[in-house]
């Protein structure tokens, strides 16, 4: 079996589902002959034709609105925003229609669509190509917000997202698109959209994260291990609806929690997890929760962006800070 990267896993999942379900279509800018600017849809138009892999006019409003229309007619559209920083014009259709069509019509109509977008910073890209905006959607009822962090999870979660009867925002951490390869059997097996993944067991502190920061967080856990500190690492993966139980269980065991994400701190999704902890696990907490996040500024152009993104060093320091309290 071939080893594949995260982006190849995205392609593999799309190809699998398109081959097995005629109603799956892909649409967006440059998704056709070009195979997407990151090659996520590479080869799909050749295989499935220009109608099922459709290059749209350059208007994100159009892409989102047409996606809603397709989905209501029983198609399963997978729409691409070329970068997450260009997703704003999609929001009216996502929030007012995709997320509430089922509710509005008491179940008569629904929108089984996926909105994919490359997400996050760290690839030395131009302005607006590095946004981490998951919080735009985590407060919207009726949406699932999913962020894979490995090739296998990208494959399994994307299959689940396409098959889900409700709209899913699927954000792909572009920094780790090609970071490493792993074996991902093309077996059509989906992963669940209602659980967090515990990537590493530990007893002293819980590190909670998602997307590209899983990398730094696991590295931080390694570093902590060298100093005899046992860190549990949780990849939230599906931010909403949140599987808080997995996090709560871990934190009641460790008593300490560091949340890591690259979006700005204030009102980022880390706040929700911290809030749940203070609501539901207060007396298990042995130390203040720490958030290691992007700053409350716009992610800078690439000369400074690595100083903006959470580093292994910052995560380790935060974990130690939780351990300094007793």
């Amino acid at each position: 079996m071939a080893q594949i990267t995260l982006i190849e896993a995205v392609t593999q999942a799309l190809a699998y589902e398109m081959a097995h379900d005629d109603s799956v279509v892909v649409l967006g800018e440059d998704v056709g002959v070009n195979g997407g600017v990151f090659r996520a849809t590479q080869g799909l138009q050749e295989k499935f034709g220009p109608l099922r892999v459709l290059d749209t006019p350059l208007d994100e409003t159009t892409i989102a609105g047409a996606t809603v229309g397709l989905a209501v007619q029983g198609m399963k559209p997978v729409a691409e925003a070329q970068f997450e920083g260009f997703i704003y014009p999609m929001m009216e259709h996502i929030n007012c229609h995709a997320a509430r069509m089922r509710n509005r019509t008491r179940g008569r109509l629904s929108v089984p669509a996926v909105f994919r977008a490359p997400w996050g910073g760290g690839i030395r890209a131009p302005e607006h190509h590095s946004e981490a905006n998951e919080h735009l959607f985590t407060n919207v009822p009726g949406l699932r917000v999913v962020l894979p962090s490995s090739p296998a999870r990208a494959y399994g979660l994307l299959l689940a997202a396409i098959r889900d009867p409700d709209p899913v925002i699927f954000l792909e951490p572009k920094r780790i698109y090609r970071q490493y390869k792993e074996e991902v059997p093309d077996d059509g097996e989906a992963l669940p959209l209602d659980v967090c993944f515990v990537l590493r067991d530990g007893t002293d502190v819980t590190l909670v994260t998602w997307g590209a920061q899983v990398k730094e967080t696991l590295e931080a856990a390694d570093e902590l291990a060298e100093e005899g500190i046992s860190a549990e690492v949780i990849d939230v993966a599906t931010l909403t609806p949140l599987d808080f139980d997995t996090i709560a269980e871990s934190v009641s065991k460790t008593g300490r929690c560091v949340i890591v994400h690259e979006a700005p701190k204030t009102a980022g999704f880390g706040a929700e997890i911290a809030a749940r902890l203070v609501e539901e696990c207060l007396f298990d907490l042995l130390a203040p929760v720490q958030r290691v996040t992007g700053y409350d500024t716009h992610i800078p152009l690439f000369q400074l962006e690595m100083k903006y993104l959470p580093s292994v060093e910052r995560i380790v320091a935060a974990a130690k800070k939780t351990l300094a309290v007793s």
Binding site: P57, G65, G69, Q73, G74, C96, R104
Partner: protein, 363 residues
Amino acid sequence: MSIAAKFEIEYLQYLDPEGKLVVKEKDLPAFAKDLDHMVELYKLMVSTRVFDTKSIALQRTGKLGTYASCLGHEAAHVGIGSAMKDEDVYAPSYREYGAQLYRGVQPREVYTYWGGDERGNDYQKEPARHDFAWSVPIATQCLHAAGSALAFKIRNEKRVAVCTVGDGGSSKADFYGAINLAGAQQLPLVAVIVNNQWAISVPRSIQTGAETLAQKAIAAGLPTIQVDGNDIIAVRKAMEDALERARKGDGASVIEAVTYRLGDHTTADDARRYRGSEEVEEARAKEPIKRLRAYLESKKVWDQAKEDAWQAECDDWMDNEVNAYLETKTQPVTAMFDYTFAELPEDLARQRAEAISLESKEH
């Protein structure tokens, strides 16, 4: 200097405000030569108005929330709805009852919706059952129709998606996006601009500098026409042409139906704040029902007795609908939760339980 492209916008009218034909009888479209059918259309226009009057009365007596009247739009709306086939899909905005009643939306559903209950969107009868629900965010329905048309094209179905949008809505991103996508992909879409001269208080003249709204179609390379939107023959004919083009695979069209919003924008609005009564009176003289009645009477297929009988029938129908509406029980508090996802997520189930327990405490 040479010429790269040329365009003309045609204007279509058959019936003038007095109900006189402006064309020879033989030049009428086939459906219009069938006077029984014309009577059917007339009857639906009248029942739509009876329905509308009843809605406003309900609102005035506190039995509805805000309501958007369709007074004066009956020819445009019935013209649209009656030209469509069952298998087509309609994406309305919020006041096209004339089209919707034709397609099976029930007055009680309209009342339920404006009465603050989502069940009003759960249209029970076909073909309305497969149509879109009311769309409040202006013009967004245009893209839902375009997406539907794309689905029909992909699946090679001979179906057409129809959307309506206002003069105001024709300024919004979604309208341009929909017609552009439809033009680029030759989609079976008919986009009707119901130009009633006002977007709440904003007059057509400051909505855009374009001489006609029909010409917006040129931006998308689409066939387009401006019609007298108070003349149901013109609306229906333009619709039939556009639907046929779309069904044959020849792509999308735009129609501008020029009409006038005779009432307030909604019951929450007071149009006297921003427009003079003269303008309204002038428009009232051109309204669609009066002229069609005059025409049918001149053809001896309609008279006062028939009018009275039909009015009475409509009254009964609406009374029945109103009663059905008023008898409907409020949804349980759980209805807030149960349609958010196909399956209730665990976290939400907890909130649902909390809401139920609050509810039981109250009682």
